[in-house]
Each structure stands twice: as structure tokens, then as C-alpha cells.
Amino acid sequence: MQLDAKLPSGPLREKWDKHRFELKLVNPANKRKYRIIVVGSGLAGSSAAASLAELGYDVDCFCIQDSPRRAHSIAAQGGINAAKNHQNDGDSIWRLFYDTVKGGDFRAREANVYRLAQISVDIIDQCVAQGVPFAREYGGMLDNRSFGGAQVSRTFYARGQTGQQLLLGAYSALMRMVDAGKVRMHVRHEMLDLVLVDGHARGIVTRDLLTGEIGPWAADAVVLCTGGYGNVFYLSTNAKASNVTAAFRCYKRGAGFANPCFTQIHPTCIPQSGNYQSKLTLMSESLRNDGRVWVPRRLELVGRKPSEIPETDRYYYLEERYPSFGNLVPRDVASRAAKKVCDDGLGVGIAVGGRRNAVYLDFADSITRLGRKVISDRYANLFDMYERIAGESPYEVPMRIYPAVHYTMGGLWVDYNLMSTIPGLHVLGEANFSDHGANRLGASALMQGLADGYFVLPYTIGHYLSTMHKGKFGVERPEFAEVVRQQQAQTRRLLALKGQRPVDDIHRELGRIMWDYCGMGRNGDGLRKALAAIPELRERFWTEASVPGSGEETNPWLEHAGRVVDFLQFAELMCIDALERDESCGGHFREEHQTPEGEAVRDDERFCHVTVWEDRGDDAAPAQHREPLTFENVKLATRSYK
């Protein structure tokens, strides 16, 4: 496997400009002759499909939901970063670049991150022009807030629904192109596999989720925008349909998978209330600005009502351990600290499976200091949402929170042109690995998805089409029928499963293995346990699972079973990667590598690289490749929040 990142030479600030000039263009009259498949309609997919169609390409766009507007991006709350420096507080493209590289714990490419920071500025302009109602100041200018521990205010937001408004903007651009006849939108179509012809990505095979029909689609290039794989943990903040299938099938067809173990755990989510729990809900990080995190100080106090625990018996562990950042330490630090106190038996709330996995986020002091009105102005919608789910009012009783899987930094490996190791297969948004290193900063995923779709791919895809792409053909090529046949066989195999156990139950079991051994804290022994347990569970899947219904109708259970089969394989790759990366960095915390105070210890000598995995068939271990990371513009430093 060749890992040529195609990074342009020259000074960091000039790389993207220079590169754009060097990219080959497609003659405007020829663009309509190229058909492009875009899989996914989240921020990355909608923005790419709309922008490609505007340029004149002939686009087919696919999504699982019944409307492109329902993609998982819709749920993003907090905001989107951009280096506009509207607040005159010292922000710049350079600072956003630096913060992102450092936030990612020095495991991302400098050139990619710099380009992202440059483009961030144009994204906001584009969204405003589409009618995205960002928050404004009284004078009519755009408002900003500081987010995720950043020291400047560079986050643009639309109440607590920024993802929704940005996605509706991108969706409207997409629907404009549908209106113009330039995009054919295929809703309720799930990509099951990638089709290669002469080693290039030339199409996909999908299941029509209404009729069950498995069919081929041919194109001149494929753009994958299928989101992240957090649902490998079963419980996560992701939407229920989020999956790894499309990306994993591409991996099985030869695309390198980069850093699969890099997962982000978000510290403030509503905890599990029972074994029936189907997903976890995020509570915006902004709450930590006014809430104080605590648990009972001693084991004897566990199980008491919060009001019955006197002030002196409350352990404000973040404030005590991190006096200068206190409750505002970064996501990974806050998450691990919560896990530690709960592992020590000091957790609060409802016991699920004999464990109390929650800590208090208490607003009482802020309400006393600022008044209920101020707190309500800031957080009313979040408090209401919490109250609906948890059944308690945070004005009266401290919120209960616990970390949850939230985002996956790993993904398919792509070069600077967003092309994977399979020529013609481009990967955008959360599905690729590119810009966040080992940890993503708050409000940076929306920025990256839209940068990829609006402003990177539209330039780089033309280069592929005019320099590497060869031959015109449709689904009559035998390669298509062969993949359709394979997928039909797999579907029959799944429908033949008539065991006793719902697939959901097996998915849950996989999630528990992953959370226990490949979650917030990981160690060699645990990962080896997981690597024994996952193949065993995979085998049991094929004897225990029950998949109801047929393949000629709407069948959500068949859909889910197919996704779980891929999660069961992919989980193993995550654990292999986590075991191989024998250092702590960002969201990847190897318990063997920490300071006496419990802080992560990186190993730049041995691990300053991207690990890229190549599939070698179901029965062989994957091959490991490395893309070394070189830092010419920033100095590798240790993150410290003491």
C-alpha cells in the first residue's frame, strides 16, 4: 500500500494556493459527462453534492434516512469554529491552526490543518448567504462564543442547534440542485459495497430500504461522506442509523483505514438509566461554564440524596485536581476524571448493573450568585431537555452526567486531495481521518465537514478525473453483477438466522466489550481480552441471532443486522490499533502511559505517525503501514491543564 499524502511543497501559508494552481482542471463543457456518486447527505455529503452539481457534474446522492435533511449532522449543538477574529481577541488562521494541532495532541498533518483554518473563514460567509440564522449582536453583527476550552471566541452558533441550521443550509443548496435536475437524490438507499473496475472506485451497490432490492450504480468517481462509527460502542450520542458499513466495505476492498482507535468521549452526557437504554444524549459542554462537578467524598455517603450531603463532604474533584482550569479542563481529561471517581465507587444516581456511573453537575452556586433568570437565559433549552429525559429539574436538583462516546477521529486514510488509497474513492467529513489527530476540538467537526464538501473536494476531484481516471462504462461491466451477487448471498445468509436473540442484544454485548476495554481507558491486558472476546461473539452472532422478515420489503432488522456484522469485524481492528499504539495521546489513553498524577504521556519517538491498516482477507491479520508526521512549524509540546 502506497501512502503518498501528496503534500504540496513550500511554506505552510502558500501550500493550498500553490496546490490549487497546480491541480488539473476539467473543461467546463466536459463536466456534465462525468457522473459522481456521493454517499451521505450530512454536512459533508450535502455540501459536496451541491457544489459538484453547481460546477456541472452529474451527481447521484444517497442516504439512509427518508430525507437528506435528517442526516446525523442535524444533531450538532454547540457551534462551528472560524478564524474570523471578529472579537479582536487575538485570533488568527495561525492560532486556529495551532490550537487544532495541539488539541489533536500532535497526531495530525500540519498542511491539512492549516488549510482547514484558512477555509474556515469562507464557510461562515457561505452559510450566511444561504440564510443560516446565526446568533447576532444588537448591532447586527455575528456573535461568537468561546467553546471547548479555547482562549479566544471564534465559535459561531445558532442557539443550541448549530448543526441543524448548517445542515438545513447545505440541504437547501442540495435541493436547489435537485430542482435544477443536476442531482438525483436517492433516499432510503443504503450502500452495501464498493465496486472496483481496474483497481479504481467506479460504483456502489445499494439496498433500496423500501423494496429490499439490491442494485448497482456506476459512476466516474465515488465520494464517501458516511459519518463516524461511534455506534460500535452501541451506546453513543450518535443517531441510531450511524454505522461503519460503507467505510468498512471500502476497507475490505483495499482502502487503508487510519487510526481506528482514536475515539472521542464527551464528558457531559445524560447517564444511562437502565439496561433498555438505546442511546445517550449529549448535554452541551457550555454547561461546565456555570456548573460545578462533584461526587460524595466518602463511600459511606454514596446513595444519599445530594441535598443530604453537606458541603464539606462534597468532593469537587476537578477543582481540586486542576486548580487553574477547574471544571473547564478539556474533554478527555474531564471524562477520565469522572470515570476514575465512579470506578472508585463514588458515583451517584441510578445503579445500572450494580454500578452508579454518574457525577453531579451542580448549578446551585451559579443560581445563588447570578440569579435563576441569568441561568435560565443561558441554558433554558438544555435544562428543559434534561428535565424531559431525566425527569428532574436542574434548577432544583444537580444534573447527573457521565461521559459517552461522541466522535471518531479515525477513518479512511486520505491524501491531501481527500482521495483514499483506492483511486477515485474520495472520503469527506467524519468518515475520513484527516484533520483532528488524536482528539477533536469542540466546534471543529462541522467546520471540517463543510470545508471538505464546499471548498476542497470541488477542486481536487477534477484533478483525479483529468489525470488518473480511465474509460467510460456502466453497470453492464461484470464487476457490478459480481458484487450484487455477493451482497445478495450475504442478505440470504442473514435472513436465514433464526436463533433466539435479537440482533440489538448482540450489538449491546459488543458495546460493553468495547466500552470496558477500548473505551476511556485502555491497557494491554484489557485489549487482549477484547481481542479474544470479539471473535467469539462474532461466531455466536451466526448461531444466536434472529433476523425477522424477508428481503423483499422494508426490513429495519435486516438493515441493522448487516451493520452489526460489520461492527463485529471492525471492533477487532480498533482493538488491534489501540494495542499497537503503545502510548497515550489525545482521546487514546493507555493506562500504562501516564504520569503519577494520571496525565497522559505521549511517545513521540515511537508514535509520531498515522497508523494505516490494510485488509488481507477475513482469515489473516491486517497489514500495518505508517505515514510519518513531521512538524516544521510547531514545536511538539506536552498538553498541561494543571
Binding site: 451541491a50 453547481e54 434516512q65 427518508d66 430525507s67 437528506p68 435533511r69 435528517r70 446525523h72 442535524i74 444533531a75 461562515i124 460567509d125 450566511v128 448567504a129 444561504q130 440564510g131 440564522p133 446565526f134 447576532r136 449582536e137 448591532g139 447586527g140 455575528l142 445558532a158 442557539r159 441543524q164 441550521q165 438545513l168 440541504y171 437547501s172 443548496a173 435541493m175 436547489r176 430542482d179 443517531a239 437502565g274 433498555y276 437504554q277 438505546s278 442511546k279 444524549t281 449529549l282 441510578i350 431537555m385 424531559r388 425527569g391 464546499y454 471548498f455 470541488p458 436473540r501 435479537p502 440489538d504 434472529s546 425477522p548 422478515g549 420489503e553 422494508t554 429495519p556 432488522w557
Partner: protein, 248 residues
């Protein structure tokens, strides 16, 4: 808690459906959809046919979930989607009827799932600002008052769930269309295409066989995002403008 359910079962859009009784043991902390998950797991274990329903985010923002609970789209709690309803809203022993959205323009796909693609087709008929990627001016070049932005946001918050249609005796989509038209009509960016947008979207709505509005107000009552009826008044004004300027 023990519940008695009556759930609409329908194999596909061609065959007739009917209400089927089920009993389920639930927990007050469960969400409504988790209660259905528990029932489905039981049905699968017994080798029976589980119940299909639409859902995805399960946090009230994607607009996928769509159940009529005891005759009310999205169920008993105001300004709340189906997925955000929790079982503590119901007494122990409750009897609950669960049905799909009912409207001619939303054919049933299976059980509780319906086809809402008509709403996408209405948006494709001009529910956007025509701006190419790359053609945008600086975001602060056109100031927008805080209150205007907030008002535009209130309309833009629509999640496209279709509850308004399901609640309306005429199955009208006026609240949905009004929300989009009002959102864009309030912003300077939406001005140029303002009149054409209103008349095209209304024509598309009529073509999809949604009914007309006769001011019942049921739509506002069930809307999980509390979109105000003002949206419909605004839509009517925009439409009159289109007629007056000959752009309809």
C-alpha cells in the same frame, strides 16, 4: 409498569392495516421508543413480526420519529417529539393507541412508517436561496438585527416531521411551508426570490395533494418546535404579494 397497547399494523402501502393489541412491561424512565424496542425484542424472541417505526436521532431534532399516540401526533406532551416522550407521562396500567401519521400525501410504508418525500419536493420548489458555493459576500457585510435573526431562527427551527399535516383535519402542509417561507422572507438574503418562492412552494404543495388551511390551529398545537400560526398568515401575505406583482 404494565401497559396495554393497540398498535397499527400494515404490511405495506397496498394492503389494509388494522390495530393489534399487545401487552408490555415497561419502566417509567424509558423513552416511548425504548418501550417499543422492548416490545420488539420480545416479539423477535417469540418469532413474531416486530413493529416498524421511523426514528434516528432520538433527541428531538432529526424529525424522523412520527407516531400518533392516543390520537395526538407526537403524544401527550407539548413541544415534544415522540422520541422525547418518556413513560412517566403515563399511569401504570395505561391503555395506549399508536398509529402512523395519516394524510393522503403521506402513504404508509409499513406499520408506523410513512413516506414524507412530498415535503422534500416542496423544498426543492424554491425553498432555498440561490447562491453558488464561493459566491458569498463577507458574512458581516449585511447586518441583521438580533431580533430579526431570532425571529428567522424561530421559523427555521422546523424539523420537517410532518406532525402539522397529521394533526390537520384537511391534512394541510401550510405550517411547514409557512415556516420555510417566513424564515427566508425575514432575512435580507431571502429577499430577491421572495415572491417567486412563496408561489412556487404553494403550487408544489397543492400538486402533492395536501389540503388547504381553514384555521383549525391543530398544527401549532402539536408542532414539537412550537412554530407559530403566524407563519401561515405570513405565507398568505407572501402569496398575495406574488399575485399582486404578477409573479405567481
Amino acid at each position: 409498569m404494565r401497559l396495554q397497547l393497540h398498535i397499527w399494523r400494515q404490511k405495506n402501502s397496498r394492503e389494509p392495516g388494522r390495530l393489534v393489541p399487545y401487552a408490555v412491561q415497561a419502566d417509567e424512565h424509558m423513552s416511548f421508543l425504548e418501550m417499543l424496542d422492548v416490545l420488539n425484542a420480545e416479539l423477535i424472541r417469540k418469532g413474531e413480526d416486530p413493529i416498524a417505526f421511523d426514528h434516528d436521532c432520538r433527541e428531538g431534532i432529526c424529525g424522523a420519529c412520527s407516531l400518533v399516540i392516543d390520537g395526538v401526533p407526537h403524544g401527550p406532551r407539548a413541544a415534544t417529539t415522540t422520541c422525547q416522550i418518556h413513560m412517566r407521562e403515563f399511569p401504570d396500567g395505561a391503555e395506549i393507541t399508536i398509529e402512523p401519521w395519516r394524510a393522503y400525501a403521506f402513504p404508509v410504508v409499513k406499520d408506523l412508517m410513512v413516506d414524507r418525500s412530498a415535503l422534500d419536493r416542496i423544498i426543492a420548489a424554491g425553498g432555498y436561496v440561490s447562491v453558488r458555493t464561493g459566491a458569498a459576500p463577507d458574512a458581516n457585510a449585511i447586518p441583521i438585527g438580533k431580533n430579526t435573526a431570532e425571529k428567522a431562527f424561530d421559523y427555521a427551527a422546523c424539523i420537517g416531521c410532518g406532525a402539522c399535516v397529521a394533526a390537520c383535519p384537511n391534512a394541510s402542509a401550510m405550517l411547514f411551508v409557512g415556516a420555510k417561507v417566513s424564515h427566508l422572507a425575514l432575512l435580507p438574503q431571502g429577499q430577491v426570490e421572495r415572491t417567486a418562492r412563496a408561489s412556487r412552494m404553494i403550487a408544489a404543495m397543492d400538486a402533492e395533494s395536501f389540503g388547504g388551511c381553514s384555521n383549525h390551529g391543530e398544527c401549532e398545537a402539536v408542532c414539537p418546535k412550537s412554530i407559530s400560526l403566524d407563519a401561515i398568515a405570513k405565507l398568505n401575505r407572501e402569496f398575495m404579494r406574488a399575485v399582486a406583482t404578477g409573479e405567481s
